[in-house]
C-alpha cells in the first residue's frame, strides 16, 4: 500500500506552457545573477541587482498567475503527494540541501558570500547588494542585508502566489496581505531606513514586532546599552519591547489566540506560510512527535528564561558570571549557536522540504511556547467543530503545518484547543464538509467533549 503505486497517469500535465516557461526563465535569470556574483563574476551591481530582483519577483508573479488563474477558485492540492518537490523526492531533497547550505554559509562563512571583513570592501554576492543597502541605510551591505532582502522578496512573491491559490477564502487573503506588509515595512524597510537615519548610534533591533524571547538578545547587556544610548528612538524600543512582551501579547492572545502573531505579523511564520506552503503537509502528525514537541519547545522556553535572568543579573550587578559560570560561554553562546542559528535558521527553513514548514515554530520558538500557554489556558480562541458533520477524511490533519491531528478532535465532535495552533486556518479551508471554524468566543464550553455525536438521540 505504498504510495509509489499511485503515479500520475498523464505526465503531460506536468509540462509547462510558454508563459510558464517564460516565468521560469525569468526566475532562472534572477538566480543566475545571484550565483554568478557569488562566484565573483564581475557584474555592474547598479544594473544587475535590479535586474536580478525584479526578474525574480516578476517571474514568481507570472508563474503564480499561470498556475492558479487558469483554474476555477477552490482547493488546489492536486498531486502534492506526487510531486517530487513536495513529497520528499529528489527535487525536494535538492532544494533542502541547497537551502541548508545557504544557511550554513550565511551564519558561519559569510566571507564565502563576499562579506568584506576587517574593513575590506565587499565582493561577490554581498557587493551586489551594496547599491540597495547604500540607498536605504547609507552603509554597504552585510550578509544579513542580502538575506533580509531575499527573505522579503520570497514572502512577497510567494505570498502573492498563496493569495491566488486561496483566492476564494477571505481569511487567507487578508492574513497574507498582512504578512506581506508586516515583512516588507516593519521587518525590512522601516528598520533599514531608521538604521540609516540613526547611523551615528550603535546598532539595536529596530523591528517593532520582533520581541523577546524570539529576539533572544533583547536583554543582553550590549543590546540594552545600545538602546539606552540610542537616543529617544532607543528608549522607545526598550520600553515598547517590554510592554509588548508583558502586556500587549498576553492581552491580544487572550482575545484572538496566538495567531495574531504567528500567522499575521511574524517573519518566521510569514516565510512558513508563503514559501513553506508547498511543504506544510510534511509535518509529522504522530502522537510521538507531539510528545517530543512539548518537551523541546518548553525546554527552550525555560532555557531562555534562565539565560535572560542571568544576563539581567549581570547587567544590574555589572558582572559577567553567575554562580561562577561565564554567562557568555555557558548560556548565550550555546543558545545563539544551537537555537538561534542552527535550529531556527538551518533546520527551521533549510529542512522545509523534509520536515514541513513550521519545524522551528512547533519545536523551538520560545515566543510560540509563551503565547501557547495563554492560548491553551486563558484565551477565547478555539477551532469549533461543527457538530456531527466530520467524515474523518483527514484533509485537516494532513494540511496542518503544526502537526496537530485535527481530525482526532473533529471526528469526536470536540473543539480544538491546542497550545501549538498558529491559527493559519488552512484546516478549515481544506475541510470538504465545513466542519472547522476558527473563532473567538466565550471561554465557557471552549473545551467540550460529547462522546455521542449530535444527531443521535439513542443514548441519553
Amino acid at each position: 500500500m505504498k504510495n509509489e503505486s499511485i503515479s500520475i497517469s498523464n505526465p503531460d500535465k506536468g509540462k509547462l506552457n510558454s508563459t510558464e516557461k517564460f516565468s521560469v526563465a525569468l526566475i532562472a535569470i534572477g538566480l543566475l545573477i545571484l550565483v554568478l556574483s557569488s562566484f565573483n563574476v564581475k557584474l555592474n551591481n547598479n544594473v544587475y541587482l535590479p535586474i536580478s530582483l525584479s526578474s525574480l519577483l516578476v517571474g514568481m508573479v507570472i508563474f503564480a498567475r499561470q498556475k492558479y488563474l487558469n483554474d476555477l477558485p477552490g482547493i488546489k492540492n492536486n498531486g502534492v503527494w506526487f510531486s517530487s518537490l513536495s513529497s520528499r523526492g529528489i527535487i525536494g531533497w535538492t532544494v533542502g540541501i541547497i537551502l541548508t547550505s545557504f544557511y550554513v554559509i550565511i551564519y558561519w562563512f559569510p566571507s564565502l558570500l563576499g562579506l568584506g571583513e576587517n574593513g575590506n570592501a565587499n565582493t561577490g554576492l554581498v557587493a551586489l547588494f551594496d547599491p540597495l543597502s547604500l540607498a536605504l541605510n547609507g552603509k554597504v551591505a552585510s550578509q544579513w542585508f542580502v538575506y533580509g532582502t531575499l527573505y522579503t522578496l520570497c514572502i512577497t512573491g510567494l505570498g502573492y502566489k498563496f493569495i491566488l491559490k486561496y483566492r476564494h477564502n477571505r481569511y487567507q487573503i487578508i492574513r497574507t496581505i498582512v504578512v506581506i506588509i508586516s515583512q516588507f515595512f516593519l521587518a525590512y524597510l522601516i528598520p533599514e531606513i531608521m538604521e540609516g537615519l540613526n547611523s551615528d548610534q550603535a546598532y539595536f533591533a529596530k523591528d517593532v514586532k520582533n520581541m523577546w524571547p524570539l529576539n533572544y538578545y533583547f536583554f543582553d547587556s550590549w543590546h540594552i546599552d545600545n538602546m539606552k544610548n540610542g537616543g529617544t528612538m532607543g528608549m522607545i524600543y526598550l520600553v515598547w519591547g517590554i510592554v509588548l512582551f508583558l502586556f500587549v501579547t498576553p492581552i491580544i492572545t487572550y482575545f484572538v489566540g496566538k495567531r495574531w502573531y504567528c500567522s499575521f505579523v511574524c517573519g518566521c511564520g510569514g516565510l512558513a506560510e508563503t514559501a513553506g506552503d508547498s511543504f506544510r503537509h510534511l509535518s509529522s502528525k504522530k502522537v510521538s512527535a507531539w510528545k517530543f514537541e512539548r518537551y523541546s519547545i518548553h525546554a527552550i522556553l525555560v532555557f531562555v528564561f534562565i539565560m535572560t535572568g542571568a544576563v539581567l543579573y549581570n547587567y544590574f550587578t555589572n558582572t559577567s558570571t553567575i554562580f561562577g559560570l561565564d554567562t557568555y560561554t555557558w548560556l548565550r553562546q550555546p543558545y545563539g549557536f544551537l537555537i538561534g542559528a542552527a535550529f531556527s535558521g538551518v533546520i527551521g527553513v533549510g529542512f522545509y522540504p523534509m520536515l514541513g514548514s513550521r519545524v522551528w515554530c512547533r519545536f523551538g520558538c520560545p515566543l510560540a511556547a509563551y503565547m501557547g500557554i495563554f492560548q491553551r489556558f486563558k484565551s477565547k480562541f478555539r477551532i469549533t467543530t461543527n457538530g456531527g458533520q466530520c467524515i474523518s477524511c483527514g484533509n485537516c490533519s494532513n494540511s496542518c503545518e503544526m502537526g496537530i491531528d485535527v481530525r482526532a478532535y473533529a471526528q469526536k465532535g470536540e473543539n480544538i484547543v491546542r497550545a501549538s495552533c498558529v491559527g493559519c486556518g488552512i484546516c478549515s479551508a481544506v475541510c470538504p464538509r465545513g466542519v472547522l471554524k476558527l473563532e473567538n468566543a466565550d471561554e465557557e464550553n471552549r473545551i467540550n467533549s460529547n462522546p455521542i455525536s449530535i444527531g443521535n438521540n439513542s443514548i441519553k
Binding site: 500500500m1 474523518s392 471554524k437 449530535i454
Partner: protein
C-alpha cells in the same frame, strides 16, 4: 448527553465484529470504552480502519493511504481491539462460529455484522470488461489507478455523489470526462431543480461533458477485452478507455444470503439492530430496518448513520441494556467540485402539499439557501445550503424547538459557520425574504 457507563454490566462475552468500516469500528471503540469484553474486528479489505470518504483524495494526491487512517496503528493494541485480516465465508449460528476463506474458524458469543456495501451493476453488456469499474473499496482505488494510466477520455455513469467525485478525480489527472446521468436534473432524488441547476452549471464549468437524461446502453470491447467505447440510450457512441460505474451501492451481504439470518436487500434488523438470530446484530450500510425508524429510509448508507448505529449498539452491548436506535434530525453534507453542500432536517426534492419553501440564490450562482417550512404553521422543517457553512448545533436545536421560518430568517447569522472575514449574506437573504413574504404566507 454525556453518557457515563455507570451501569457497567461487565460484559465479558467475546465479541466478533465483521467489517472495519466506520460502523464496525465505532461499535468496537465504544464497547471498549464501556467494558472489558474481548473484541475482534475482522476485515478482508485493509489491516486497519481507513476513511472510505477519503478515497478520492488519495487518487488526487492530496493524501496518502496512511493519512486516511483516523487512528494510529498503535491505537488498536492500546485499546485491546484485536484486528484480523480474513475473508469470512460462512456463519454457523448453531455452533456460534464463523469460517474464513483460509479454512480457519472463530467462535463468538456476540456477532456484529458491519459489512458495508458494494457498487451496483445493472447487467449492462460489457460491464465486466477491463477498464470498467465502480469505486467503493481500497482495492477499487488500486484498480482505478491502474485502469486510468494512459487514459485520455473516460465515461462516468450515474449522477450521485460518488459519480461527481469520480469525475473530479479523473479531471485531476487531466482525463476528459463524459458524465451520463439518467435523470433530467442532476441528483434529483435529493436536490430540488434550482440546486440541481447550480451543480449542473458548475460541472460544465469544470469542462465535464455532462449529459442529462441519458443512460448507458452498452459497453464495447476492443480486441484485448478492454473497453473502447460506450453506446448511450440516445444512440451516441462515445470512445473512451475507462468507464466508471457509480449507479449506487447495495448491501454487501452475499455470504449471509441463504443462511438462517433473514435478509431482503440488506440484513433485516429491528430497532435494536437485532437480526432474527439471537446474539447476531447488523449495523451500518448493510442493515435494513424492518420498520423504518423515525420516517427515515430502511437502509441508511451514509457515514454518519454508520457511526450512530455503531454508537448505539455499542451502548447496548457494553451496558447489557437494550438501546433503541433513535436518530435525531437528518443531516448530511457533500462537496461537488468546489461547491460545498450541507443539509439539515427534511428537504424533499419535490415538495408535498403541506410544505412550502423559500429559496435564495446569490447573483454569482454558486451560493444558495432553501428553507422548507410547513404551510399551515410556518414551522421550519429543513434547509439546503450551498456555499455557506452552517452550524449543526443551532439548526438541530431550531428543528427540535419547532421554530418558525421567520425566526430562522431573523436569526440566520447565529447559524453562520463560515470562516472569519467571509462575505455575509444574511442581510440580503432577509431582504429577499421580506420582499417575498406575501407570497410565502400564501404558500406560493
Amino acid at each position: 448527553m454525556i453518557h457515563q457507563l455507570t451501569k457497567n454490566c461487565n460484559n465479558s462475552k467475546s465479541i466478533v465484529i465483521i467489517g472495519n468500516g466506520v460502523a464496525g469500528i465505532t461499535c468496537a471503540r465504544n464497547i471498549r470504552k464501556g467494558c472489558n469484553a474481548p473484541i475482534t474486528v475482522i476485515s478482508a479489505e485493509t489491516d486497519h480502519h481507513f476513511s472510505r470518504t477519503a478515497l478520492m483524495y488519495i487518487y488526487m494526491g492530496h493524501m496518502r493511504y496512511e493519512d486516511t487512517k483516523p487512528y494510529e496503528d498503535s491505537f488498536w493494541k492500546k485499546s485491546r481491539i484485536n484486528l484480523l485480516n480474513r475473508f469470512v465465508t460462512h456463519i454457523d449460528s448453531a455452533k456460534k462460529q464463523i469460517s474464513f476463506s483460509n479454512g480457519e474458524n472463530l467462535n463468538y458469543e456476540i456477532l456484529v455484522l458491519a459489512l458495508g456495501s458494494k457498487p451496483n451493476k445493472f447487467g449492462w453488456p460489457g460491464q465486466d470488461l477491463k477498464g470498467v469499474q465502480g469505486l467503493y473499496s481500497y482495492q477499487d482505488l488500486q484498480l482505478i489507478v491502474e485502469n486510468t494510466k494512459q487514459v485520455k477520455h473516460a465515461v462516468v455513469v450515474g449522477g450521485g455523489l460518488i459519480g461527481v467525485e469520480m469525475a473530479e478525480m479523473l479531471k485531476s489527472r487531466n482525463i476528459s470526462v463524459t458524465f451520463l446521468v439518467r435523470e433530467k436534473n442532476f441528483w434529483n432524488i435529493v436536490l430540488p431543480a434550482e440546486e440541481a441547476k447550480i451543480i449542473e452549471n458548475h460541472i460544465h464549468e469544470h469542462d465535464v461533458d455532462l449529459r442529462l437524461d441519458t443512460e448507458l446502453k452498452e459497453i464495447i470491447s476492443d480486441e484485448k477485452g478492454r473497453v473502447k467505447a460506450i453506446v448511450t440510450s440516445k444512440g451516441d457512441v462515445i470512445n473512451c478507455e475507462f468507464v466508471g460505474l457509480t449507479v449506487g451501492v447495495s448491501p454487501n451481504i452475499d455470504f449471509v444470503k441463504g443462511s438462517e439470518i433473514n435478509t431482503d436487500r440488506g440484513i433485516l434488523v429491528d430497532e435494536y439492530f437485532e437480526t432474527n438470530i439471537k446474539d447476531i446484530y447488523a449495523i451500518g450500510d448493510c442493515a435494513q430496518f424492518i420498520n423504518p425508524i423515525n420516517g427515515r429510509r430502511p437502509i441508511e448508507q451514509v457515514w454518519y448513520t454508520g457511526r450512530m448505529h455503531g454508537e448505539t449498539l455499542a451502548h447496548a452491548i457494553a451496558t447489557c441494556e437494550k438501546t433503541v436506535y433513535n436518530p435525531g434530525h437528518w443531516f448530511n453534507s457533500a462537496k461537488f467540485f468546489d461547491i460545498e453542500y450541507q443539509t439539515y432536517g427534511d428537504v424533499p426534492s419535490k415538495l408535498p402539499e403541506n410544505l412550502s419553501s423559500f429559496y435564495w440564490e446569490h447573483a454569482r450562482g454558486q451560493i444558495c439557501l432553501r428553507i422548507v417550512f410547513e404551510k399551515s404553521s410556518q414551522k421550519f422543517v429543513g434547509l439546503n445550503v450551498f456555499g455557506i457553512r452552517m452550524r449543526h448545533v443551532i439548526l438541530d436545536k431550531w428543528l427540535t424547538e419547532g421554530r418558525t421560518i421567520e425566526y430562522v430568517i431573523e436569526n440566520l447569522s447565529s447559524a453562520n459557520f463560515d470562516p472569519e472575514f467571509f462575505e455575509k449574506h444574511e442581510k440580503e437573504i432577509r431582504n429577499t425574504f421580506n420582499r417575498n413574504q406575501f407570497n410565502i404566507t400564501k404558500g406560493i
